[in-house]
C-alpha cells in the first residue's frame, strides 16, 4: 500500500517524545546555539530531520546549585549538553558514596551475624527512624515536573575537598556512557545558582552523529581514545600488539550500535502481550554465508548466534560483552588462503548490542601475525549436510535449543546471578525463602516463582544484570552497583519509592514495600502517605559466604548462575 507522500517513515520511538514539553520555540532556541547552529539541516534525511530529532529526543533541564546531574557509576541513557551556567565534573578523589546516595554495604562481623538468631525484627519491613537518616550533606527537593532532585548542601566544601573541572558552555558529556551502556565515569553537578542543560537521549545522539560529521568525529575520537584503547588491551588477542599497531587498529575499527537500549519497555510489552511464535525481526549484524568482513567484538549488550536449520534458524549460542564472532573464520582463511570459508553462523542482536568491528584486512595484517600459533582457534572443517550435527558448542547441545530460546527470548542471559531452580529437585519447601528472610531482618527478598520452561524456573529474584536497566533513572542514586562485585543493591536510606527501578525491571525482581516501625505501624510522611521503598535481592553482600538461598537448598535445586556465558548453565544442567 503506497504511503501518502506527506507521511514519512518515522522512528517508532517518536510515538512517545522524550520530553512532551519541548516546544517549537525551544527547538528554535536550540538551533541557534552551537553545536546545532553549525549543523546543516540538509545533511539530515527527510525521515529524520534535525528539528524533529531535537523536538522528540531532547529535553531542556534546569538545575539549581548543588544538584547532581549524573553520578559516577550510574547507568544512563542520555548525554548532556551544557547550555548555560557552571557545571563541574568531579575528578579526584571522587565524592564519598553517601553523597551519591549510596551505602557501602559492609560485611557483618561475627557478633552481628550471630545476633541475627534473635535480633531479627518480628514485623515485616520494619525500620527504625534512625536507620532512615541519610547523609546530612545532601538534601532533596522536588524540582519542576515533580522530579526529585538531590543536591549537595555545601558546594564550596565539596569544591575544596575534590579536584573538579569546569564543563564549558557548549560541551557535551556523558555521550560514551549513553551510547555504549557503560557506567558514568564521573559525577557532574551544577555549581552556579541556575544551570541549564540539554539532555539528549541516546537514539537522538546516535542519529545526529550519523548525519553530522563534526559531532561524529568528536565523539568518535573521544571514544576511541578513552574507552577503546583500554578495552582492547584487555582482550587476549590484542594484548601482544605493539602500541603503534594498536593505534592503527583503533583508528580503523568501526563502531556500531544496534537495536534498542530501551528494550526493557519493549520486552515488557511483548511479555504482556504474550507474544509467541514468530520471533520479532531482530537486526542482523552478520549473515551466515557472507564473506567475513571483520571480527565483531561485543562491548555491551547481547547477540544471538544461530544457524540455518530447515526453514528456520536454530539458536546455538548467545554472546555477551567481550566475546567474538567471526574470529574463527578469519583465522582459518588467513591460514588457508586457497580455500576460504564464509561466515558459519548468523549474528543477530538481542535487545541491543554495541559492537566494534575490526576489519579483516587489519586482522590479517596486524593482529593475527602477533598471536602465537597455539592460541589460534582450530581450523574449521565445513559440514556439507545441514542435517548432520552442526559444530555447535557442546554447551548449546546440552541445553537444547528450546531452552536456549526460552533464555534468549526472555533475556535471562543478562543476569550474572540469575536464580535458577530445578523443579524436578525442588520440594517447594521454601527453605531458600526462609534463608533469605533470615539474612534480611525477616524479610524475604525474592519470590519463589517465575517463568519456567520444562524443569527450569527462573525465579523473580534480582539477576544482578550485566546491563542493569533498573539503575537507569534513579533520582537519588539509591540503586547502585556494590563494591564487592557486580551485585546491584538498593540503599533504603535514600530510596524515595519513586518506582523508576520497579517499572524498569523486566524480570519483576524488584518489589515495593511499605515501611513500618518496630511495632508494626506504617511509617508515613507528612501527608500521611505510606513510605514505600524498593527492595530486591542483594546477593547477601552483608552476609558471609555468598547468597543464603543457594546454601540453604537441601536438594541442590537452586543456584545463582552467571548466564552471560552458556557454559555455566549447561554444566549446571548436567550436574
Amino acid at each position: 500500500m503506497p504511503a501518502a507522500p506527506t507521511t514519512f517513515d518515522r522512528p517508532q520511538r517518536w510515538d512517545a517524545a522524550f520530553d512532551p514539553k519541548m516546544t517549537d520555540a525551544d527547538v528554535d532556541r536550540l538551533l541557534d546555539t552551537p553545536p546545532f547552529s553549525n549543523m546543516r539541516a540538509e545533511n539530515f534525511p527527510a525521515r529524520l530531520p534535525l528539528r524533529d530529532i531535537l523536538k522528540q529526543d531532547t529535553s531542556i533541564r534546569r538545575y539549581r546549585q548543588g544538584e547532581l546531574i549524573v553520578r559516577q557509576g550510574d547507568y544512563g541513557n542520555s548525554a548532556f549538553l551544557v547550555m548555560s551556567g557552571n557545571v563541574r565534573v568531579v575528578l579526584r578523589p571522587g565524592l564519598p558514596p553517601s553523597l551519591l546516595g549510596r551505602r557501602e554495604p559492609a560485611r557483618k562481623n561475627v557478633f552481628r551475624l550471630l545476633a541475627q538468631m534473635w535480633a531479627n525484627r518480628k514485623e515485616p519491613e520494619s525500620l527504625q527512624a534512625s536507620e532512615l537518616k541519610g547523609d546530612k550533606r545532601i538534601g532533596a527537593r522536588v524540582g519542576d515536573g515533580d522530579e526529585v532532585k538531590v543536591f549537595l548542601q555545601d558546594v564550596p566544601r565539596v569544591l575544596s575537598e575534590q579536584k573538579t573541572d569546569l564543563i564549558q558552555r557548549g560541551e557535551l558529556f556523558g555521550e560514551i556512557a549513553a551510547l555504549s551502556r557503560m557506567a558514568r565515569t564521573a559525577t557532574v553537578f551544577a555549581e552556579s545558582e541556575e544551570a541549564e542543560l540539554l539532555e539528549i537521549r541516546w537514539q537522538g545522539l546516535r542519529d545526529i552523529m550519523r548525519y553530522d560529521d563534526a559531532l561524529r568525529k568528536q565523539v568518535d575520537t573521544i571514544y576511541r581514545e578513552r574507552a577503546l584503547r583500554s578495552a582492547l588491551r584487555q582482550v587476549p588477542i590484542f594484548r601482544r600488539l605493539s602500541d603503534e599497531a594498536l593505534q592503527e587498529v583503533i583508528a580503523r575499527t568501526e563502531l556500531s550500535t544496534y537495536g534498542d537500549y530501551d528494550w526493557s519497555g519493549e520486552y515488557k510489552r511483548l511479555a504482556q502481550a504474550a507474544a509467541t511464535g514468530q520471533r520479532k525481526q531482530e537486526p542482523t549484524i552478520a549473515e551466515e554465508g557472507d564473506y567475513p568482513n571483520g571480527v565483531v567484538l561485543i562491548r555491551s549488550g547481547f547477540a544471538r548466534v544461530s544457524q540455518k536449520f530447515g526453514h528456520g534458524h536454530r539458536t546455538l549460542n548467545y554472546l555477551g560483552a567481550g566475546q567474538f564472532y567471526g574470529f574463527e573464520e578469519i583465522a582459518h582463511n588467513w591460514r588457508n588462503p586457497a580455500s576460504p570459508l564464509p561466515l558459519q553462523y548468523t549474528l543477530r542482536v538481542i535487545g541491543y548490542a554495541h559492537v566494534i568491528v575490526i576489519p579483516t584486512t587489519v586482522m590479517e595484517k596486524l593482529v593475527l601475525p602477533a598471536v602465537p600459533k597455539g592460541d589460534l582457534p582450530p581450523l574449521i572443517t565445513p559440514v556439507e549436510s545441514e542435517i548432520a550435527t552442526a559444530p555447535s558448542k557442546d554447551a548449546a547441545e546440552k541445553i537444547g535449543s528450546e531452552m536456549l530460546e526460552f533464555l534468549t527470548e526472555s533475556r535471562f542471559f543478562n543476569g550474572t546471578a540469575t536464580m535458577v531452580i530445578d523443579l524436578e529437585r525442588c520440594t517447594r519447601c521454601d527453605d531458600c525463602v526462609r534463608a533469605c528472610a533470615a539474612a534480611h531482618d525477616n524479610n524475604p527478598r525474592f519470590l519463589r516463582h517465575g517463568p519456567s520452561h520444562g524443569r527450569i524456573m527462573i525465579a523473580n529474584a534480582c539477576m544482578h544484570c550485566v546491563d542493569p536497566v533498573c539503575m537507569i533513572g534513579c533520582p537519588t542514586g539509591a540503586i547502585h552497583r556494590g563494591a564487592f562485585g557486580g551485585e546491584v543493591v538498593i540503599n533504603p536510606v535514600t530510596c524515595i519509592g519513586c518506582k523508576a527501578c520497579f517499572n524498569n525491571c523486566p524480570y519483576e525482581a524488584i518489589r515495593m514495600v511499605e515501611i513500618r516501625d518496630e511495632s508494626g505501624a506504617f511509617l508515613t510522611d507528612k501527608e500521611l502517605n505510606p513510605i514505600i521503598k524498593a527492595t530486591k535481592c542483594d546477593l547477601c553482600v552483608e552476609q558471609v559466604g555468598g547468597p543464603s538461598c543457594q546454601r540453604a537448598c537441601p536438594h541442590g535445586a537452586l543456584a545463582r548462575l552467571n548466564l552471560n556465558e552458556i557454559d555455566v548453565f549447561a554444566n549446571w544442567l548436567e550436574r
Binding site: 537441601p554 541442590g556 548436567e574
Partner: protein, 274 residues
C-alpha cells in the same frame, strides 16, 4: 546427573564401610568386651545427636556452616548408619519390656518417616513439574477462590447470554461441588485421574445437546475444570511434601526424650549402680 550420582556413591560407600566395621566389631567383641551394648549405645546416641543438629542448622542459614545439601547427604547416610547401629546395639534381638519396646518403635517410626520423606522428596517434584502449572502453596486457596468465582460468573453469564439454563443447571449439578475447596486429595497422590476424566466426559456428553454458542461456553468450563484439577493436584502433592515433617520431627523429640530416660535407667539399674 553426574554430581548427584557421585554424591550417592560417596555416601553409600562411606555407609557400607562404616556399617561393615560396626557389624564386624560388634561380632568380634560380643562377649569379650564387657559392656558392648553400652558402647554401641553411646555411638548410636552420638550419631543421632548429629542427625538432630540438622534442624538448628536450618535455622541459621546466614552462617557459613556448609551447604544444606551437604548436611542432608550426611543426614541421609548417617541415618542409614543408625539403622545398622541400632540393630547391633540390640544384638539383633526383638526388644522386650514395655519401655524398650516403645523406644524401639519410636526409633523405627522416625526411620520409616525419614524413608518416606526421602522417597516423596525425590518422586513428587518430578510429578509436579511434569504436570506444569507451578503455583505457590500459600496462594492456592486464593487462586481456588478466584477459580470458583470465575466458574460461578461463567455459569451466570451463560444464562444471560445463551438464554438457556442447560449449562447453568449442569454447573450447579455437577460442577459446583468440584470447584468448592480441595477435591480428590488422596486420588491425586495415587495418580488416579478418574474423577476429572469423569467430569470432562460428562461435559463432552453434554456437548451433544448444545448449540454453537453454548458449546463455546462449555469449552470454557472445561478449561476451568482442568485448571481446578491441576490446582488440586498441586495442592495434594505439595501438602505431602510439607507435612511429612509433621511426623518426622515431633517423633524425633519423643525419641530423644525416651532415649535420655533410657540412658538414665540403663546406668541406674546397671551392675555398677550404687
Amino acid at each position: 546427573m553426574n554430581s548427584f550420582v557421585k554424591q550417592r556413591w560417596l555416601g553409600f560407600s562411606l555407609f557400607v564401610v562404616l556399617s561393615g566395621t560396626a557389624i564386624w566389631l560388634q561380632a568380634r567383641w560380643f562377649g569379650t568386651v564387657l559392656r558392648l551394648s553400652y558402647l554401641t549405645g553411646w555411638v548410636l546416641f552420638a550419631v543421632i545427636l548429629c542427625l538432630t543438629l540438622y534442624n538448628p542448622r536450618k535455622k541459621l542459614p546466614f552462617l557459613p556452616l556448609l551447604s544444606s545439601e551437604a548436611w542432608l547427604q550426611f543426614h541421609i547416610y548417617a541415618g542409614l548408619l543408625t539403622g545398622v547401629l541400632f540393630a547391633a546395639h540390640m544384638s539383633y534381638r526383638i526388644p522386650s519390656g514395655l519401655f524398650q519396646t516403645i523406644l524401639a518403635c519410636l526409633y523405627v517410626l522416625v526411620m520409616l518417616s525419614g524413608f518416606f520423606g526421602l522417597f516423596v522428596s525425590r518422586a513428587l517434584p518430578k510429578r509436579l513439574t511434569a504436570r506444569g502449572g507451578e503455583v505457590l502453596f500459600e496462594r492456592i486457596p486464593a487462586i481456588r477462590h478466584a477459580l470458583q468465582d470465575r466458574a460461578e460468573a461463567l455459569a451466570l453469564k451463560s444464562i444471560a447470554e445463551v438464554k438457556s439454563a442447560t449449562i447453568a443447571d449442569f454447573y450447579s449439578r455437577e460442577l459446583r461441588g468440584f470447584f468448592e475447596g480441595q477435591r480428590n486429595l488422596g486420588l491425586h497422590l495415587l495418580e488416579v485421574s478418574s474423577p476429572v476424566n469423569r467430569l470432562l466426559n460428562r461435559i463432552k456428553d453434554l456437548n451433544r445437546y448444545l448449540n454453537q454458542e453454548e458449546q463455546v461456553m462449555l469449552e470454557q468450563f472445561a478449561v476451568l475444570v482442568r485448571q481446578k484439577d491441576g490446582l488440586d493436584y498441586h495442592y495434594a502433592l505439595q501438602l505431602v511434601l510439607k507435612t511429612w515433617l509433621f511426623v518426622h520431627i515431633p517423633l524425633t523429640y519423643s525419641l530423644l526424650l525416651f532415649t535420655m530416660v533410657h540412658i538414665v535407667l540403663v546406668f541406674a539399674f546397671s551392675g555398677g549402680a550404687q
